[in-house]
Symmetry: C2
Subunit: 320 residues, 2 copies
């Protein structure tokens, strides 16, 4: 297995450079497939963080890609990729474009990262629009891939069809499933339920997906009958975020003293967004993952694991 | 406190007449405010169920409203109210129209019930479209009212504005809050996030709601900062149903043996859709609640409690 070249934006995230670098360290120590970290960010801060973490010897193969520029506050996020090419978030993508990296991770702004990915790397053949996809836990103890989760708020049928194709490919490769079950999110199972957009998408997805299971409702998503759930980016974003908040409700309901129990804590980890570390952008010529702004080092480590797996299994390539 | 006249469709629900009547019995015994049950359904089945339950003496004040007609399979659900007026579901609404009932409950088909309510009772003044509202549990141990949850899939700004007004009134009266906090569901907090529809609705809701807290995201809904969350019926339906399914995920994650523990079982009840029994229709001239098709007798009892409270607090009246 060749070593993956990972461009990572260490200037991003709510907790700054040391947490991102601690995540790289954790990923390395957890025995993920081999990768070389191209750390994009302020060189001074990177060196300080490595020193503070006492990590120089354990970080393995890495390179510091100096990026002194920061995203200007108030800048239109859709044009940062063009106007501020030396920011860490854009540099990661540029490294991919120059074939110096196989995959990028940033915990920075989604809109900046998405536009950089789309305009620098380009749209994959056949993908009508890029989509953000996210894994959620299910009752069957296997994840479900939900897309779109926020890139496309108003969707036409052909967008939903494109998401189905992208999701089928990604889940199939990433989860190693020969025929991932694809469902279309709707408010009921009956043919007459939903909007005209959904009904038109349903007919076409039925034609192109090998294992299309039809409409799935909100309560079906976490039941795990579908491996991929297709929806517009507004509903998907709402659904993803409410699921990410479930853990807080469980803690509130069961009481702190119960949840501080280490067995429960361990079991409830599966409800934690951090476990699924990183939202892949699909429909792009390249593998790009967005980590949560509030990522801990553990979440970054999980995003790195997901990124390395996605590249090794060619989950994004020939995706549409 | 005067006795509420409750028209209840005992022909509805997945488990049939005995379960609905057992729900009436449970409500009665739980010490809810006084009500008279007008049981609409097949008289033979009603008498048999009362006999089987040994409930004749405990049912208190009730009347059997004989409805022999059943909804024809394949009938267009939007016209059942006109073509099959002697079905139990339509009879309930007709009793309200004739001022023989103060409130209706049915566990039957939502579209049939909604069109009957809308066309027989009429739309409330100022309500642009009727909406379905539902309570969800929150981290703060008080419920949040979500609307619309399925009546309006494509919403214009004026629909969302109308939902805000309806929800503010209902939550204020039902939960006895002087200034319920109203939020608008979106994919981010920043002003530029979301669709044009959401942005226009935001400006107008800000003008009319006393305690408008702006955009709320998926993860804010269960956090409990808002008492009312306004959204289109597609996202709301998905959000409601995924939250209703959440209990299954917790059981799967924590393991059966843990959840069979009675303390946990009790605590997890708050996650159960049955606890909130019944979805009120808002924007209608009258109080109508839809109970889940799969309602247990306990869920029906909770729906009755909600119906009686809604009438006693005039939660629906002058709602828009």
């Amino acid at each position: 297995m060749k070593s993956i070249r990972l461009a990572i934006d260490v200037d991003s995230g709510d907790f700054g450079t040391p947490v991102i670098i601690a995540g790289i360290l954790e990923a390395r120590l957890s025995g993920v497939a081999p990768f070389k970290a191209l750390m994009c960010g302020n060189p001074q801060r990177i060196r300080e963080a490595i020193h503070t973490l006492g990590a120089a010897d354990q970080l393995g193969d890495f390179e510091i890609i100096g990026c002194s520029d920061m995203v200007s506050p108030g800048e239109n996020r859709a044009v940062v990729w063009k106007k501020q090419r030396t920011t860490a978030i854009v540099t990661c993508i540029a490294l991919q474009k120059d074939n110096r990296a196989d995959v990028s991770i940033s915990a920075g702004d989604t809109a900046i990262l998405l536009s950089a990915a789309l305009f620098i790397l380009g749209r994959a053949d056949g993908a009508v629009r890029p989509a953000l996809a996210a894994f959620l836990p299910t009752v069957r103890k296997k994840p479900v891939l939900l897309l779109d989760v926020g890139a496309n708020l108003n969707c036409r049928p052909e967008h939903l069809v494109s998401f189905a194709r992208l999701g089928e490919h990604y889940a199939g490769r990433f989860l190693d499933l020969p025929d991932p079950a694809v469902g279309l999110l709707n408010i009921g199972k009956e043919a007459e339920k939903g909007t005209r957009t959904i009904s038109e998408a349903d007919a076409e997805i039925r034609r192109i997906c090998r294992n299309y299971i039809g409409f799935v409702e909100g309560h079906d998503v976490l039941a795990g009958g579908a491996d991929v759930v297709v929806c517009d980016g507004f509903s998907g974003n709402v659904l993803l975020k409410v699921c990410e908040s479930f853990r807080h409700l469980v803690v509130a309901v069961l009481g702190d003293q119960v949840v501080s129990d280490s067995v429960f804590k361990q079991k409830l980890m599966v409800l934690d967004a951090e476990t699924y570390g990183g939202v892949p952008f699909l429909g792009i010529n390249g593998t790009v993952l967005k980590a949560h702004g509030g990522s801990s080092s553990h979440a970054i480590a999980n995003a790195i694991r997901a990124a390395v797996t996605a590249v090794n299994r060619n989950a994004v390539g020939q995706s549409a």
